[in-house]
């Protein structure tokens, strides 16, 4: 597409659209370097809020917790989601397949409030009947996040497996490789880019989840989004702006990275398709 061909109307609406999306983020970044404590007053450049941030133990520990939960739940959801995707894409039509597929993707379409509330009820019941989990905390948040993330992972992996040429796996079987070995030797390396990108997707979903976390967290477990939310309720705060700026940078880096991984895989596949 050539930029010269876009009409003035197109340019204006494109500009407005981008402004609507990115001006708030820009403002946030600008205010994170603001010397004044008041968010509405610009008073010169300063990095003091960053040093305040790095000395704030509550922020540091909640960030650590968020990171831990995100790593644990994206790992688990990639394992479970890959298995579910494999079952849906490879195990022919079996009884209750539609129900299975629907139930796995339900957390994606169900309002998060409902998912969070129902899981809270589940854990409360479990505690009454079995005394486990004794209290809400990392474990319960982890279970909730895995439920949510797994739905997305399953969709990504399933669609990758469906578009993958089945005869490649059949060829391996024909050469004497047993089914389980085929998965690790053939299927897994081929879908590795999809697994990597679904891991990143699950990671970002988990690390910024607020609603489900709010239902499932206990007294000792405050994640970063929860902390930010509770601080901002007390008033806008330049320290949080600094935190948000760092988050934007990290997320942008991750997105660009994931994108490059996928583009590379795509290029390889098209090159292969062209060559055949």
């Amino acid at each position: 597409m050539n930029g010269k061909n876009i009409s003035w109307f197109g340019r204006v609406s494109l500009g407005l659209g981008f402004a609507f999306l990115y001006v708030p983020i820009l403002i946030l970044i600008v205010y994170s370097f603001n010397a004044s404590k008041l968010v509405t007053v610009l008073a010169g450049f300063s990095t003091q809020w960053y040093s305040v941030l790095f000395n704030d133990d509550a922020v540091i520990s909640s960030f650590g917790l968020s990171l831990k939960i995100a790593l644990l739940s994206s790992t688990m959801s990639v394992v479970l989601g890959t298995i579910a995707g494999l079952v849906l894409a490879r195990f022919g039509p079996f009884r209750g397949k539609g129900l299975f597929a629907g139930m796995i993707s339900a957390p994606m379409v169900m309002p998060e409030v409902i998912v969070g509330l129902s899981m809270l009820l589940l854990f409360v019941e479990l505690q009454q009947w079995f005394g486990f989990p004794a209290e809400r905390g990392v474990l319960t948040i982890w279970v909730g996040h895995v439920t949510l993330c797994m739905a997305y992972v399953t969709v990504v992996i399933r669609s990758r497996l469906v578009e993958m040429d089945r005869s490649i796996e059949e060829a391996a079987m024909d050469l004497g490789v047993r089914p389980l070995k085929i998965f690790f030797l053939i299927t897994l390396p081929i879908i590795a880019p999809a697994i990597a990108s679904s891991f990143l997707l699950a990671f970002t979903l988990s690390i910024d989840d607020l609603v489900i976390t709010a239902f499932l967290s206990g007294p000792g477990s405050t994640t970063l989004p929860q902390l930010i939310f509770s601080r901002v309720r007390l008033g806008l705060n330049p320290e949080i702006n600094a935190l948000a700026t760092i988050t934007v940078l990290v997320v942008a880096t991750l997105v660009v990275g994931a994108n490059r991984v996928m583009v590379k895989a795509e290029q390889r596949r098209t090159r292969l398709a062209v060559a055949t």
Binding site: D165, S167, I168, E170, A171, A172, M173, D174, L175, G176, V177, R178, P179, L185, I186, P189, I190, R268, R269, R271, L272, A275, T276
Partner: protein
């Protein structure tokens, strides 16, 4: 089939067919895709399954490879019933239509994968991979990934991979389907030579009759899940046993009619599309008056300005169209009955006289051994 053929004594194994497909049926739901197929193939044969798209060729091949299980029937290879063996337990290798090379492995790794499964020592694997690469002349490319190869090179890697384990039976599903026409013709004979060189029994699937006739010693014609005729290329062309085969292999002139004279060594067929009954120089198993078809290949039809003297197999008409093809021309002659007959006439025919032109009245004729009567 006798039950004893499952466990033949070692001495008689050679005289028995190497591969036997016994009454195999495959249904997908209510859809019968392979319909009571019986087929025997002897050792080191190259057999081609030829048929139009969707007739069940690939399904039959996949049942041999073990990717599909027959609904009923048995498959016996070298005296062993393999009907219910898993694909990874069969001494059969297949070359897939899409080649199905492993995209994340190099050429050498692709070829070695099957050998590794047999637990061969590393040195022997390397040797065999080397020999396979030599065989298909791909040594230079051993460390390339499949996407760095051209279509023809990928095809050769796929072939090497399926030959590496020295299978008892090699299956080729449209082995040259992904190549362009010119490359395909070059590769056909090359492939046959390779298969002969390693001496492997081979079944290939194709819908290209030229390919089947070039490569195979026997061809099976498939239509709607049934095997209509199994014969050598020459026999299929000269003596088709049914209308489908006659029309599927090459071009032909087909006349519908019925038998008016049925003798042991000849028959006469009356058809409304020709002015007089046609005499055909072979007997048929049938009854007087039964409906039959008459097939006459275009190259058997002569075109002349003079009325043919001998026999009754001639008709008069006018030249309707001429397709000039260099070495020969195809004359489309419209008979007085309205039927258009195609005649393929070599250019050398017109040395003494000029070739007829459009709308010129001519005679078409053929010898009574040139027509074939088809009863089904």
């Amino acid at each position: 089939m006798v039950e004893s053929s499952v466990h033949p004594a070692a001495g008689t194994a050679a005289s028995k067919p190497y591969l036997q497909i016994v009454d195999v049926v495959k249904k997908f739901g209510d859809n019968t895709v392979v319909n009571h197929i019986n087929l025997s193939i002897s050792k080191n044969d190259i057999f081609a399954l030829l048929g139009s798209s969707g007739c069940g060729k690939s399904t039959l091949l996949r049942m041999l490879a073990g990717m599909e299980t027959p609904t009923s029937g048995r498959i016996i290879l070298d005296g062993e019933d393999i009907t219910h063996l898993a694909p990874y337990e069969r001494p059969i290798n297949m070359m897939f239509q899409s080649y199905a090379l492993f995209p994340h492995m190099t050429v050498a790794q692709n070829i070695a994968l099957g050998l590794k499964q047999d637990g061969l020592p590393r040195k022997e694997i390397d040797e065999r991979v080397e020999r396979m690469l030599d065989l298909v002349q791909m040594k230079k490319y051993a460390h390339r990934k499949p996407f760095q190869l051209s279509g023809g090179q990928q095809q050769r890697v796929a072939l090497a991979r399926s030959l590496a384990k020295r299978p008892k039976l090699l299956l080729l599903d449209e082995p040259l389907g992904a190549l362009d026409k010119k490359l395909r013709q070059q590769t056909q004979l090359e492939l046959v030579n390779l298969i002969d060189q390693v001496g492997v029994t081979c079944i290939m699937v194709t819908h290209d009759q030229e390919e089947a006739m070039t490569m195979a010693c026997r061809i099976g014609i498939m239509s709607e899940g049934q095997l209509l005729q199994i014969a050598s290329p020459g026999e299929l062309y000269e003596r088709p046993n049914c209308r489908f085969t006659a029309e599927f292999i090459g071009e032909t002139n087909m006349f519908g009619g019925h038998v008016v004279e049925d003798e042991p060594d000849y028959v006469r067929v009356q058809t409304t599309e020709l002015p007089r009954p046609v005499r055909v120089g072979h007997g048929i198993t049938g009854t007087l008056g039964m409906p039959v078809w008459l097939s006459v290949r275009p190259e058997r039809v002569g075109v002349s300005r003079q009325q043919p003297t001998a026999g009754g197999n001639w008709a008069n008409g006018t030249v309707h169209d001429i397709a000039y093809l260099g070495g020969f021309s195809i004359f489309h002659v419209r008979l007085d009955t309205g039927k258009v007959v195609k005649a393929s006439v070599p250019a050398t025919r017109w040395r003494e006289e000029a070739a007829p032109t459009w709308n010129e009245p001519v005679f078409v004729s053929w010898a009574d051994t040139d027509a074939v009567v088809l009863t089904q």
